[in-house]
């Protein structure tokens, strides 16, 4: 089992850990994330049917609806949100949900951005630990 550390830029700082759930496809949370359960419900998406609750979700960015923020805010309140989200650039929609959750419930969701080449190293099933500085330690599931 390999171990890899990649630098993440904290968008909203915080430490987190969990099993990685990774897709190179962007996702809309509205119509794509069931905040009552944490299941990914976009039937056209490669993660359809997976549950992201408590996991480290890695997707490049959000697509589509401007309601994504509201859905993530509901998930944070309902405790069905991922433990952290990794993207390839600053995602405004996720950042806002995290900041509003901080304002309303003092419960910010940690968000990090990584380079596209580092993103490509992440695989579903990896164990991920992120420290407050944004260092992302990846315990790879397989050696390749």
């Amino acid at each position: 089992m390999g171990k890899l550390t990649i630098p993440g830029k904290p968008i909203i700082a915080g430490s987190a850990k969990g099993m990685a759930l990774v897709s190179s496809e962007p996702l809309s949370f509205w119509g794509g994330y069931d905040w009552k359960s944490g299941e990914i419900t976009d039937r056209r998406h490669s993660l359809s049917g997976s549950n992201a609750k408590g996991r480290v979700l890695a997707i490049p960015f959000t697509r589509g609806s401007s309601t994504t923020t509201a859905v993530l805010l509901e998930a944070i309140r309902a405790e069905t949100a991922p433990s952290a989200i990794i993207t390839t650039s600053t995602d405004f929609f996720f950042a806002l949900a995290s900041i509003v959750a901080d304002e309303l419930y003092t419960q910010a969701l940690p968000l990090f951005a990584v380079s596209e080449s580092d993103f490509a190293h992440l695989k579903t099933g990896d164990q991920i630990e992120i420290d407050a500085h944004g260092n992302i330690t990846v315990h790879q599931q397989t050696s390749d």
Binding site: I11, W35, T41, R63, T69, A70, F92, E103
Partner: protein, 421 residues
């Protein structure tokens, strides 16, 4: 880069303009810092997508602001709500949902907003003008304002739009800035035959293709041989903003920032060029249908909300006809457009056909569909994109005429002739 605030911004942040303005400015400033903005700018209007009822957290946010005395600082329209106040009891909307969604409507209405309850705020007379800085939510409204009107908004999410409206300010980022509005991806449609370019269903299909293709590049469509209507551009934009994160497109010699190819790219070279063929679009059209069955329970039209011109078009198509009794036929629109359509006499033909109307909301934002409705058909790429995930329904995509003919026959039928070569 650091954010510089004006004296008035600082006063709002300290709470000199009240507790609601302080909360809104605090969120605005934190987001401006996340986005690396150097300054905030004045806006002339806002459109609030946060009106869509999702759950308790969104309601708590709205009621927190309302209880702190929030008032908007600029003319502010409201997006669809979670409830058709006039007709919800005709459908399967649970009363508890109706109560919560209504509370959210009242909270946003209390802030001095204009209760338009529509996802197509560009259909009303007071829409923004070319070049104006605005803060709009709702992905289809954003792309329409940027592309078709040439007003300037970033792709603002729910909850942020209202913070901009209360403070009258927005971060000077992204599409507020001229150089960020330059085209990047060239889509050449000159090989698409004129009779397909004239057809309404070309636009949502092209939009769906663009959303899947553009990624973070601003698409420029060149090679049109006809001038599309506003409703066709509306359908294109809504589709591209559903399958992708597109917030601005240019169409050469059609949209206001693209009088020429060079203007659309601001004198730069395209980063990428795609020759759009009927074959590529056939695949996009196929993706919009998520059913193998010809079974049909309900036709759904009006995402984005039906315009007066669309009511007129539909009234002509259904005149003197009646839908099959086994199929429901729903049109969603705003109160304002529905009223105009009624005055123009278009609603009578729809009613005689057997159509129903829903205002203020749509099938995606209120739980109105009864469980026995499983197979939908639409001419909207946005409905087609979201219905499987949000509603867990099967959906077929077709032209407006296909939708009408299918409702009459009681099963999905489509005329594929325009798409065959």
């Amino acid at each position: 880069m650091t954010l510089t605030l004006t004296n008035k911004d600082g006063e709002m942040l300290r709470g000199d303009h009240g507790a609601a303005t302080k909360m809104a400015m605090s969120i605005l400033v934190r987001m401006a810092e996340v986005a690396n903005a150097e300054e905030l700018i004045d806006i002339t209007s806002a459109h609030i997508d946060s009106t869509v009822y999702i759950g308790e957290a969104g309601l708590e946010f709205a009621e927190r602001l309302a209880s702190l005395g929030a008032k908007v600082a600029v003319p502010t329209t409201l997006n669809v709500s979670g409830l058709d106040e006039q007709h919800w009891q005709e459908w399967a909307v649970p009363s508890e949902w109706a109560r919560q969604a209504h509370r959210q409507m009242l909270a946003y209405q209390s802030m001095g907003t204009i209760p338009t309850w529509t996802c197509a705020p560009y259909q009303i007379e007071t829409r923004p003008a070319f070049g104006q800085q605005i803060a709009w939510g709702e992905s289809n409204a954003i792309i329409f304002a940027n592309s078709v009107i040439g007003a300037r908004t970033e792709r603002y999410p729910d909850l942020f739009d209202i913070c901009c409206a209360i403070t009258g300010r927005a971060p000077n980022i992204g599409l507020h800035i001229t150089e960020n509005r330059a085209g990047g991806l060239l889509l050449n449609v000159k090989d698409i035959p004129e009779n397909l370019q004239l057809s309404d269903d070309f636009y949502p299909v092209l939009g769906h293709f663009i959303g899947n293709t553009a990624h973070d590049q601003i698409p420029v469509i060149d090679g049109m041989c006809i001038v599309p209507s506003e409703d066709q551009l509306k359908a294109l934009g809504a589709a591209a903003a559903s399958s992708g994160a597109v917030a601005l497109f240019h169409m050469v010699s059609i949209t206001p920032e693209a009088p020429t190819h060079e203007a659309a790219f601001q004198g730069r070279h395209p980063q990428k060029t795609i020759k759009v063929t009927t074959e590529l679009l056939r695949e996009s059209r196929r993706q919009l249908t998520r059913t193998d069955s010809e079974r049909l329970d309900m036709v759904v039209l009006g995402s984005p909300h039906f315009s007066l011109a669309e009511f007129k078009q539909l009234a002509r198509l259904v005149a003197g006809k009646q839908k099959n009794p086994s199929v429901k036929f729903l049109v969603t629109s705003s109160r304002a457009m529905t009223q105009l359509a009624r005055q123009a006499g278009f609603i009578d033909a729809l009613t005689a056909f057997g159509a129903q109307l829903t205002v203020d909301t749509c099938i995606l934002t209120t739980p109105m569909l009864p469980p026995e409705i499983k197979y939908l058909m639409t001419n909207s790429a946005k409905f087609a994109y979201y219905a499987p995930g949000l509603l867990e329904r099967k959906i077929a995509f077709g032209s407006l005429k296909d939708c009408v003919n299918s409702a009459i026959e009681g099963k999905v039928i489509r005329d594929d002739s325009l798409w065959e070569n």
